[in-house]
Amino acid sequence: MTRDEIFTRVRTTLVDALNVDDNEVTPAARLRADLNAESIDFLDIVFRLEKQFALKIPREDLFPEAIFQGDPAFVANGKITPDGLAELETRMPYADLTEFRKDPKLEKMEDLFTVNLIVTYLESRVGK
C-alpha cells in the first residue's frame, strides 16, 4: 500500500470519526487543535483504523495520554526531560520531534499527533 493510499484511508476514517470535512484533513492537521478530537475520539479512531487496515493497534501507540503513564523520570516541571525525549523517540519513531525538541512542554505533546503521524505509523505497520 502506498503512502497516498494510506492517507486516503486515514482521511476517510477521520472524516467519519470526527465529523470533519475532507479538506480539513491535511497531512499537517493536528488531531486535537485542528480537528477538535477529544480523548474518546482517539479510541474511536483506533477502532476504525484497526478495521480499515485489518491490524491491532496497541493503546500507547496512538493515545497521547498513554505515552508516559505519569512517570516522573520522563516529565519534570511540565516539561519532557531528556530521558523522556529519548523514550519518546524509541516508543514513537514515527513522530517528527524536530520542532517539539526546541520547547518540549508536556501540554504541547498533543500537537505531535497529526494526520501525518498516523500515516507514517501505519506505513511502518502495513509496508509500502
Binding site: N19, E38, I40, D41, L43, D44, F47, E50, R59, F63
Partner: protein, 159 residues
C-alpha cells in the same frame, strides 16, 4: 427514580449482539409534555434505550466487572415513534478493548426503521473515579441488576 428504558431482552448473545424491546405507553409521563396532543417518544430516550441495550452487551463482555459509561454517539432519526408502538433495539458489538467499546444499533417499530446510531462506551476503572465515591461499581447496580438477570436468562434459555 427508575431510569430503565428497555422492557425486556428478547435475544442476548454475549460478545456479539443484544436485542431488547420497549413498549411505548401513553401512561409514561414524558408523553404528557412531549407534546400535548401529539405524544411522540423524545429522541434522547430512544437513544437511552439503545445505549442501555448496547451498554449491557458491552458490560457482559467483561462479566460486568468494569464500569461502562457512554462516551460518544452519532445518530440518525428516520421518523417519530408514538405511544402504542413497540420499539425493538438491536445492537451489535463492533469493537472492544481495555479502554472501551463501540457498538452499532437500530431502533425499529415493526419493519420501520426509527433510528440508527453508533455508540462509543468507555471503561472507567475505580482509579479514574472522583475520590470519595462509595460505590466504585456504580453502573451495573441497583435497578440494572434486574435487567442483567434478564439478559443472562435470555442468553441461556431464549425468551
Amino acid at each position: 427514580m427508575r431510569w430503565t428504558w428497555i422492557d425486556r431482552f428478547i435475544k442476548f448473545e454475549p460478545g456479539k449482539s443484544a436485542v431488547a424491546v420497549k413498549n411505548l405507553s401513553l401512561a409514561e409521563d414524558h408523553f404528557a409534555d412531549h407534546f400535548p396532543g401529539f405524544p411522540v417518544m423524545p429522541a434522547p430516550l430512544i437513544l437511552e434505550g439503545l445505549a442501555q441495550t448496547g451498554g449491557i452487551l458491552v458490560g457482559a463482555a467483561n462479566n460486568f466487572e468494569k464500569n461502562v459509561v457512554l462516551a460518544k454517539m452519532s445518530a440518525k432519526f428516520h421518523r417519530d415513534a408514538s405511544a402504542g408502538e413497540q420499539l425493538t433495539y438491536t445492537t451489535l458489538l463492533l469493537d472492544l478493548n481495555d479502554t472501551g467499546a463501540r457498538i452499532s444499533g437500530t431502533a425499529h417499530s415493526g419493519h420501520d426503521l426509527i433510528a440508527e446510531a453508533e455508540i462509543m462506551f468507555a471503561h472507567v476503572s475505580p482509579a479514574q473515579l472522583p475520590p470519595g465515591l462509595t460505590d466504585t461499581k456504580f453502573v451495573f447496580s441497583g435497578e440494572l441488576r434486574h435487567l442483567l438477570k434478564m439478559a443472562e436468562s435470555v442468553a441461556k434459555n431464549g425468551i
